[in-house]
Symmetry: C2
Subunit: 388 residues, 2 copies
Amino acid sequence: MSHEQPDIVYLDHAAATPLADDVLEAMRPYLADQFFNPSSPYLPAFRVRQAYEQARADLAHSIGAKPAEVVITAGATESINIAFASTRGHTVATAIEHASVLACAQARDHTLVGVNGNGLVDPADVAAALRPDTQLVSIGLANNELGTIQPLRAISAVVAQEKQRRLLAGDATPLYLHTDASQCAGLADVNVSTLGVDLLTLNAAKAYGPKQVGLLWASSRVRLAPVLFGGGQERGVRSGTENVAGAVGFACALQQAVATRKDEARRLADLRDGLQRRLCQTFDQAVVSGHKRHRLPSYLHISFPGLDAERLVYLLEERGVLVGTGAACAANKATRSHVLEAIGLPDDVADGSLRLTLGRLSTEENTRRAADAIIEVVQAEYDRVGAR
Amino acid sequence: MSHEQPDIVYLDHAAATPLADDVLEAMRPYLADQFFNPSSPYLPAFRVRQAYEQARADLAHSIGAKPAEVVITAGATESINIAFASTRGHTVATAIEHASVLACAQARDHTLVGVNGNGLVDPADVAAALRPDTQLVSIGLANNELGTIQPLRAISAVVAQEKQRRLLAGDATPLYLHTDASQCAGLADVNVSTLGVDLLTLNAAKAYGPKQVGLLWASSRVRLAPVLFGGGQERGVRSGTENVAGAVGFACALQQAVATRKDEARRLADLRDGLQRRLCQTFDQAVVSGHKRHRLPSYLHISFPGLDAERLVYLLEERGVLVGTGAACAANKATRSHVLEAIGLPDDVADGSLRLTLGRLSTEENTRRAADAIIEVVQAEYDRVGAR
């Protein structure tokens, strides 16, 4: 992060975040001297095991959980897959979940609940989608394209009510609430008690930590089942030699994210709001998607009807401004975003959409520079296509 | 690796290898500036994608394969699980496979083939275990406790014969040969054509590369199936944001391992043979397990009947010598090794077993020092228990 290119304005923090310097520093011993297999029988290996377990404890502490409830994984996709593998029966999710949740849900009996124009799900719709055989509700804490934060507490209450009904009816069918909070560390509250969930997925790579590291938190009520079979690490839930450097880096990154959240969220919201104001004042036709208030402070999803987002990305890149158009993993598939479809954005609006996501690399100066570039490019494109 | 503790003699390279300096150097840009999501739509992200694809090409080249046939995974356990998920029906494996292969095999209809006292499987036994519904034969190239190298070519011929039989009988049931070669990079030939396999697993962490990175090579005849559902990366086989730094590091490590294999294998075999000679000359009762010739040059599995290996590990550690007792992932489970059971080692011999594995940290000087320490400790223990 110390090496950021000075000329580039990075507005795609939701796709990837740079590794924080002190995170890399924390990882370094485990990329050098402390390379031992934590399962080896001698003291230096035991020390590595201790560092790994300390990382687990720190991760747990950062989300208000117990260490024994945290499984360290190879990323959010794996966490989500374990959450799904640990439950059976019917699943309820929203239509705007990340590809990983959608793919897991679509592999079994499921109901996708719609969202409103802001990308917000109505807890009453979740309640209506619950069936007697529903065992999992999986709803992302914040949508990864719009940044809309879902009313998890209210959804948790709906789930609790159904649990209560089953209890009274003597029905032992379990019901769990999972949230993929991958986009949220450092930007929204990811405390598991506050959220009222049973399972929570987090991703280090979205929080200035290393790539290919994640966690799955599961309350002790949930019996986790493995996706991979093997050496039985992570108490049998996640086999494979432990990624000590990754876990230590993730723990450091998450601690920082949680510690700086309130200040950083305020800072980013100010920058974001300024950017949004300038763009909307300049372009009457611009459409901002995502909830006005219940939105990650780093997110600005803005559409320029009639323009081609891919051209905008290219033209902005020529000016040193890097922006996204949607989820990075879907972006190169040349398909229209299922999220924008779900909120009912007309095609000509959706096709001109940029996902601008601010973060630690954002400053007042470079956000202003980005605004200048976006205005210049969008204006030139509207002039070119003659739509303004 | 530059920081190795000068006083410690590390004889557990099979459990973990230190990250090579130039491997970390190769990874560094992707741990810093080049943090972009390879699926993002701008040029700096595309360059990261190119580096990732170059790593895949280099990995493929190192094993004599085509880039499109290589899936980059989060480690050997995941590779093995994908290999199994991609095949159905009856499976044949040996009784001495790594926990991961055993766990996958045991989750379905399978036959475990025995091995002889050297840990060698007889291809005729594999042939006898094949059934009309067998679709996968999974046999580790070298056993991870003994270092015994299996006759993969001969087993490949057995598999080819059964394929031929099915072809002539008009039977379309597929049959694939998978090998877990995790212990072998840099120590044995891992060229897929030479081995005659259909699927091959490798692990970066055992070859001076980063932890939690592996590969699964599959010939184009094999249709791979995912274990994890998600964003569809790695052509749908392995979803999850790509670990670019890990892949680049693995490619660098594997290239080095392959390039230096012959010289390093000779060097290690000399050191190992010297160590073995000294220990066996000093202790008549010492039992060396593993095949005399068909053995990884880095391996010395030696048992001291009547002694307790865990005490030996502890006493050796006091003298700065780090050794293993078996597979690291099984070592802390306080169960007797399934490998030593399979080769028919009596319990009192098995319980006094050390797995000494040499590697890049081994020198003539420190291997001699290790031999001195082992002789001292084993002698003291025999004196103490009065068995000599």
